[in-house]
Symmetry: C2
Subunit: 382 residues, 2 copies
């Protein structure tokens, strides 16, 4: 099994790209990553995407995008794991390189969510949940997360305003990320006063509907070690049941525990070694549950970490360092690749005003559904 490195990264700004279709967004991210990697060809392309079938009537993105970027003839496939699709594409890319079957592999996450009606987007996002046992009862994806947040507040005696720090941190960091959707800081007061979406989740607990694409180029260390921007120490996937009511305990992300433990073992690190943790803050409650599952907080204490000293750039466990899903934006099938791109920026010391001092090991964790699929990558600087 070969060691895998990242030799190039690329991303488009996240936002409402009315003037660009899905294939153009993917094109822009891939061209940027290929230029960054100084390559003009690749052996394979794996595309992470969740919603293009539902929202734009387009499946078959592997061939579509590979051809559009001028790579006719190569291997190209789409990989899907709901909102975890981006990291899933990277995961398959890592296998392709580690196996020796391919040398230079592109993994691209792309999503185009805005060019449709809100009703279609809402039902599209609900395809991440269990259609027959959850969605058919009328619940939306936000609704499922609202149930989790309400239960968390009840079970552990946490007040709504205690979650504010997650959003304040994300927006503050996004202000210095030119690729972020919301480059404006907010206050805790703004958080508390935001309009309600699905009680207790308000607008400031929720990541936005948006468009974007991000890309990494993977290669074997033995061939292209000199171009390494980061080393892939771990790549791990674990699943739980899809329906939240089937979980052993709704407030414990068993798949995140399993995925993180596998990743720590592969990388031979402990939580204390992680300099940067790009977690899946699709909703504030997911930040709290993710911090607990990854071993940074005891059960019920994740929300208490929403302070600068804990999660800020100079905190104990910096999270959402480039804005996270909340403020950089959450183009669902692209998010997992954005997270990895941002970890590489941190490890290379290229995170600008958001640079975590001395960052040398970073973890990116992408979640599909309300915790059913969890994909964890641990990267090291070179």
């Amino acid at each position: 099994m070969r060691d895998v490195i990242i030799i190039g990264i690329g991303q488009t700004p996240v936002g409402e790209h009315w003037e660009k279709s899905l294939r153009h967004l993917a094109h822009d991210a891939i061209m940027a990553a290929m230029a960054d990697a100084r390559i003009e060809h690749a052996d394979a392309l794996y595309v992470g995407n969740m919603l293009s079938g539902e929202l734009t009537g387009q499946e078959h993105l592997g061939a579509l995008i590979a051809d559009f970027v001028g790579l006719r003839g190569i291997e190209a496939l789409k990989v899907e794991a709901a909102c975890g699709s981006g990291a899933a594409a990277v995961r398959v890319g890592v296998m392709a390189v580690a196996s020796g079957l391919h040398d230079v592999v592109i993994a691209c996450g792309v999503e185009k969510m805005t060019d449709t009606s809100a009703a279609v987007t809402t039902s599209g996002l609900a395809t991440a949940a269990d259609q027959e046992y959850e969605v058919s009862q009328g619940i939306s994806f936000v609704g499922l997360n609202a149930l989790l947040m309400r239960r968390y507040m009840y079970e552990y005696g946490v007040r709504k305003e205690e979650f504010a720090g997650f959003t304040v941190n994300a927006h503050r960091n996004a202000a210095h990320n030119p690729y972020a959707m919301f480059q404006s800081p907010i206050t805790a007061e703004t958080y508390v006063k935001a309009g309600m979406i699905a009680d207790p989740i308000n607008l400031m607990d929720s990541s936005p509907v948006c468009d974007g694409a991000a890309c990494v180029v993977l290669a074997p260390a033995e061939l292209l070690g000199g171009r390494a921007k980061a080393r892939v120490l771990a790549s791990a996937v674990a699943i739980d049941c899809l329906a939240v009511h089937d979980r052993r305990d709704p407030l414990v992300l068993d798949a995140a525990v399993a995925s993180t433990q596998k990743a720590y073992a592969q990388a031979r690190v402990t939580p204390a070694d992680i300099s940067v943790f790009e977690l899946h803050d699709a909703f504030s409650i997911m930040s709290a549950l993710s911090l607990e599952a990854a071993g940074f907080a005891p059960r019920g204490q994740g929300a208490r970490m929403a302070t600068d000293g804990e999660i800020g750039i100079r905190g104990r466990v910096p999270i959402s360092t480039m804005g996270g899903l909340k403020a950089r934006g959450h183009p669902v099938g692209a998010t997992g690749v954005y997270q990895i791109v941002e970890v590489v920026q941190q490890l290379m010391g290229q995170a600008g005003q958001n640079q975590v001092p001395g960052a040398n090991i970073g973890m990116a964790q992408n979640i599909g559904g309300s915790g059913a699929t969890v994909i964890t990558h641990i990267l090291a600087g070179v």
Copy 2:
């Protein structure tokens, strides 16, 4: 890189499964394959599926199905390449085992197409084509194939009735396959008189809308060689442009040429070594084009092979030996796995009345779209 073997196969009958949902179909095929492989656990599951998002509002099949078959905690992802999704899942499984990242891997293709309206199914299938440059002009997926067939007939002076042999062969073989949808032979007269769908494609040129699931269990030869039912000699993917009008030549499947050549090179075989060729006969025209692309017929001569002496069980190049897409059925995302299961049956000498004498090397080729993604596997008996 480790050698990969198949240690178990499973399939459901193909048909209209009104009483079973998608997860139940996948469950049945996976349970059968796990029993066949004599395993009670697996490290990973890759699901091939094209349409569940569009037709049943359900994405995220990796976690859904892994949990439903009792494999909570493992790695599970969905892989999509339109009608090539089944073989795409096997392809990712091969990488997972070859790399050493996983030992026992399940690849399952599943599709549930019947429980919706014909209009929804038609627009779902069109997601395999280019939405912005083909489908938006009003063409359906059958329509695209009709254009190819018409052009083929014009260009090479082939008469419609000359294609009859492909369908007659498929139905005759399906009659002896208990998993096939249409277990009844037809005559050339039935073919010619069948109702027109999209001129010149009639009902007997077209594979049916149906439900089904098929599954293989993959493992490394070095660990479980004693349980091998077949060896994977080659696994290759190549893409062409999605839109047919962008092709170098609409009547040459460049991706099939590239995919087959890669596979022949990996397996170190030539077309003459192939005992069985399970090709992608979604429409009769695709049989002709596939035979040409794989090197069994010169350009324009593929349709002339539609005779018993060429493609029959005892012919020079036996195809659709268990009924093919036309008569076994074409549950799109499952088809690629059915093809591989059937090749394994042939290599094990377990194809019953359809047994190809002395079959020792078999090729399965699964196509996404009208030739945009082509995935080829070559297997050898043990």
